[in-house]
């Protein structure tokens, strides 16, 4: 089985054929998505799972007579396209009349592939195994065990509509995650890029094995309010949850968001944007309804300035869509696609030196919103938490549970690192620097 994706032209041709099957007078929007994923997992310094799959997914949305229907198929073969058209039309016919979401017209945006690399598409199982073997050997040589994943994925998407939309693009991502465990402690590190060749395996291995060696024999420390120095992994996770609970237009319209436009809610050093044009984002240039994703200034020098929109929330808010839609129709509204916290002029060593008593946190784990309106989240530290005293990292400490408002944390920024790291999480990728915060509440 070849891992090569269909070309953009081939994906568009499939979408065109499906549009042609819709009845006259019907507004229709077709999305054709092809993904090829390969992932090698390792544990205890050996590969224990390694997989590959490729899937073509077809989605058709039809609107006519005030009724709307959506059908999706992850099926190939004769008859799939016709069955998709029949299914969508049958659902439309049985849906009550209302005010359906209509397909949008093209906005003239270019289908620039900011994050696609043929190198990633060509990575073989043997090459993944070789990279993993190197990490395992390095860990073993230090008396550690290696765990993690090496993933390569390529995606092609074509969108065609009766309103004139006709666009397609590809993206790719290669990600290497490594966790090393010693006798009494562990460490985490991760790198991703559109191009597999850009991942510095040796640097990641050195980072994780070194942190693991330092994170042995952690002792308990009392919960309470600490200064914290957060790694980009932890900052990225925090930003993702900020986006989830409060940076979408629907959350604002439904009064679920903390955002108060024009008010300063965070430290002046905080500037937060969403910009998928960065290659680290491995982005597609358009969203789930085919709108070009535009950069959005969300927080400028601590002041709330904007949120992301889809066509539905934009119309209600009286603004233009920013191109952050999920496939329509949906009840969730738009979400940020690639949040970026602007870098400052500091670095981790300076942050530690400036900290009287605090915690250096590598990673946040199992984060969940506790009170979305107040941006309170809870979760655990994991894979490398260290006590800082009088400007020095003095020892590893056992993991702690935090329960903390993100907005309040970002109103106590002491300094921001100059270098940013692109990190991936459950809700996508973010670009984050090291961050020194004055207060962070650990509850148990």
């Amino acid at each position: 089985m070849s891992s090569e994706l269909r070309t953009r032209e081939q994906l568009l041709a499939i979408a065109d054929r499906i549009i042609d099957r819709t009845p006259a007078g019907t507004e229709a929007e077709v999305t054709v998505t092809e993904t090829a994923t390969a992932l090698t997992r390792f544990a205890n310094s050996a590969i224990h799972q390694s997989v590959a799959d490729r899937a073509l997914r077809l989605r058709l949305r039809v609107v006519r007579g005030g009724r709307s229907g959506v059908a999706e198929m992850q099926v190939v073969g004769d008859g799939a396209e016709a069955a998709l058209a029949r299914s969508a039309e049958a659902i439309r016919a049985h849906s009550p009349q209302g005010e359906p979401v209509h397909p949008i017209p093209p906005d003239g945006g270019a289908d620039i592939e900011h994050g696609y690399s043929e190198v990633t598409e060509a990575v073989t199982p043997e090459e993944r195994a070789e990279a993993v073997a190197g990490i395992c050997a390095a860990a073993d040589s230090l008396g550690q065990k290696a765990f993690g994943t090496y993933e390569t994925a390529v995606t092609g998407v074509a969108m065609v509509s009766t309103t004139g939309l006709h666009r397609a693009a590809r993206s790719s991502v290669a990600e290497l995650i490594a966790v090393c465990r010693g006798g009494d402690g562990s460490a985490y590190g991760a790198r991703h890029s559109a191009a597999a060749s850009s991942i510095d395996v040796a640097a990641l291995t050195a980072e994780v094995t070194d942190r693991c060696a330092r994170n042995q024999g952690a002792v308990a420390t009392e919960p309470g309010v600490y200064e914290v120095v957060l790694s980009p992994y932890a900052v990225g996770e925090m930003l993702q949850y900020l986006g989830l609970v409060g940076l979408g237009g629907l959350a604002v319209l439904e009064q679920r968001s903390f955002m108060r436009f024009g008010e300063r809610l965070m430290s002046e050093s905080v500037t937060l944007t969403d910009d998928v044009r960065r290659p680290e984002a491995a982005p597609l240039p358009f969203d789930g309804e085919g709108a070009t994703t535009r950069p959005v200034r969300i927080i400028e020098h601590g002041v709330c300035t904007g949120v992301v929109h889809d066509s539905v929330t934009a119309a209600r808010a009286g603004v233009e869509t920013t191109g952050h839609s999920l496939p329509q129709p949906n009840s969730d509204g738009p979400f940020p696609r690639y949040l970026s916290l602007a870098g400052g002029d500091s670095d981790v060593d300076s942050m530690v030196a400036a900290c009287q008593r605090g915690l250096l946190v590598t990673r946040l784990w199992y984060v969940r919103p506790v009170h979305p309106l107040r941006t309170i989240i809870t979760g655990m530290t994991r894979d490398g938490t260290f006590l800082i005293e009088r400007g020095r990292v003095v020892r590893p400490v056992r993991d702690l549970r935090f329960t903390q408002s993100i907005v309040e944390a970002l109103s106590e920024v002491r300094s921001i690192g100059s270098e940013q790291l692109s990190t991936r999480g459950y809700f996508g990728a973010t670009l984050a620097p090291w961050l020194h915060l004055g207060r962070f509440a650990f509850s148990s």
Binding site: M1, T40, I47, T124, P125, E126, I177, R401, S443
Partner: protein, 478 residues
């Protein structure tokens, strides 16, 4: 399906697999959602493909493909074998499988009314009626949803098993959200985070009486806006059955997954505090606590005839009157203990590798009742319906929040309280359990968002649970 499976196995064997199995899967999902009096979304999703799993040179390989022609299957089988050979380069031990008999069988979820036979008109009418019931002053967002899944699958292995199964799931749920300055409160029915779902037919939705519960939850959401904050302190905690189900899921289901114990999930989902030398000895909970893994429970989302390794559904005690007694296992992990598989391996779909997953992890019914638990509690809180959940990577340190609570004073349910949180450490918490309600209050609940594995897999799992009581728990407001 049979021809596809035979071709896939033949191709794997020809490519050099010492062992091979394949799953030919066809899955149809229907979702209907009504929001604020309007149909928000009606979607049907059809999914079909083949997953081929092989052992070559003592290592696993897996490939998923949508192509069911000879060339497509041969290509997928060859890639699975190539992946296994590449993996074998780092192997420190060869994969060994616990014996399992070759089986030829069929299984189908018993349903009275096929949910796909019920018209969209009827489904939309039901949700609109429930939506209207939630339309009370102060409620800003009303959501109602129905879901149905039909999964038809053939499992075939090079050892000779040929198993056909048809699993039907049906579910529904409501959410009412009220907002005021500085506060947002939601109430859900019958369960939060989407809907309550079971392996059953449309009859399960009819029994929920969604329209009959809409007004109550809407009024509760509004009342919560001005309710007092949950008190803080160490006190008695009573959980409703839905929250008890999630507590079991997070603090018993996941830590008894043997792949976590062996480190297979250490880089992602985490490990476990329940180590093998604790089996049969460790006091996980009080004598009131018995927890089983039961893939034969009626209606559970983990109910099936055979797992995705062809092992028959079975019931295993994980916790027996408080003592840790068992794990969730696969053929590979069980072999390390010279034991048969517990039959708990499942994959989200054809393109995902089968993993150890919860089946129905059930808190067995006790002898108490919610009424009795409240009546015999001097000071505490009664909490309903999950709002947030978090637990550490070893499944010890947890914190849960619920949508609603009531203070208990002198044996009576007193004032409504908002934003309750409780936290604890797993064994200490379950050892403080002094009462579980009896069979009349025991229900099967579904969790439809259980994530595990890389690439990620979202599994539907079941939990039978009843209200239960815990002493000396840390409780506070968010």
């Amino acid at each position: 399906m049979r021809d596809i499976a035979e071709r896939a196995l033949d191709a794997a064997g020809a490519a050099g697999a010492a062992y091979a199995d394949c799953r030919v899967v066809e899955r149809t999902t229907q979702a209907v959602m009504v929001k604020n009096g309007r149909v928000n979304n009606v979607t049907e999703f059809e999914d079909a493909g083949v997953g081929i799993r092989v052992i070559v040179d003592g290592a696993w390989g897996f490939c998923g493909t949508q192509r069911t022609d000879a060339a497509g299957l041969e290509g997928a089988a060859r890639l699975a074998v190539r992946i296994a050979r590449a993996s074998a380069r780092t192997a420190v031990a060869t994969v060994r499988l616990a014996p399992a008999p070759a089986v030829t069988a069929t299984y189908a979820t018993p349903v009275r009314i096929d949910p796909f036979s019920v018209s969209l008109d009827r489904k939309i009418e039901l949700l609109l009626a429930a939506d209207a019931a939630m339309d009370v002053a102060g409620v800003t967002t009303r959501l109602g949803s129905l879901g149905a899944v039909r999964r038809h699958q053939l499992f075939a292995s090079s050892e000779g098993s040929r198993i056909t199964q048809t699993i039907i799931e049906t579910g529904g749920g409501l959410d009412a959200t009220a907002t005021a300055e500085g506060e947002v409160q939601s109430r859900s029915f019958p369960n939060s985070f989407g809907r309550q779902q079971v392996t059953a037919g449309w009859e399960a939705v009819e029994e929920m009486d969604l329209p009959g519960n809409g007004r109550r939850i809407a009024e509760e959401a509004v009342a919560l806006l001005s309710a007092d904050l949950c008190p803080a302190g160490t006190m008695t905690l009573i959980l409703d059955a839905t929250q008890a189900a999630l507590q079991v899921h997070e603090s018993c289901g996941h830590p008894t997954e043997l792949d976590r114990v062996l480190g297979f999930e250490a880089a992602y989902a985490g490990t476990s505090f329940l180590m093998p030398d604790m089996l049969g000895k460790f006091r996980y909970g009080s004598e009131a606590v018995t927890i089983s893994a039961d893939a034969t429970s009626a209606g559970g989302l983990g109910t099936f005839g055979y797992d995705d390794e062809g092992v028959a559904a079975q019931r295993t005690l994980l916790i027996d009157q408080g003592i840790f007694t068992g794990y969730l296992t696969s053929r590979e992990t069980a072999a390390g203990f010279d034991a048969p598989s517990g039959g708990t391996v499942r994959a989200e779909s054809w393109n995902r590798l089968p993993l150890i997953r919860m089946t129905n992890i059930n808190l067995e019914p006790g002898t108490s009742s919610l009424e009795e638990m409240i009546a015999t509690t001097e000071r505490g809180v009664y909490l309903e319906t999950n709002r947030s959940w978090s637990i550490d990577d070893r499944r010890l340190n947890f914190q849960f929040g619920t949508q609603v609570g009531w203070e208990i004073r002198d044996g009576r349910r007193a004032r409504l309280i908002r934003n309750p949180l409780y936290s604890g450490s797993t064994p200490r918490f379950w050892n403080s359990c002094d009462a579980v309600a009896g069979p009349s209050e025991w229900r099967m609940y579904g969790v439809i968002n259980c994530g595990k594995g890389e690439p990620g897999q979202v599994m539907h799992v079941g939990h039978g649970a009843a209200p239960c009581r815990f002493r000396d728990v840390e409780v506070r407001p968010a």
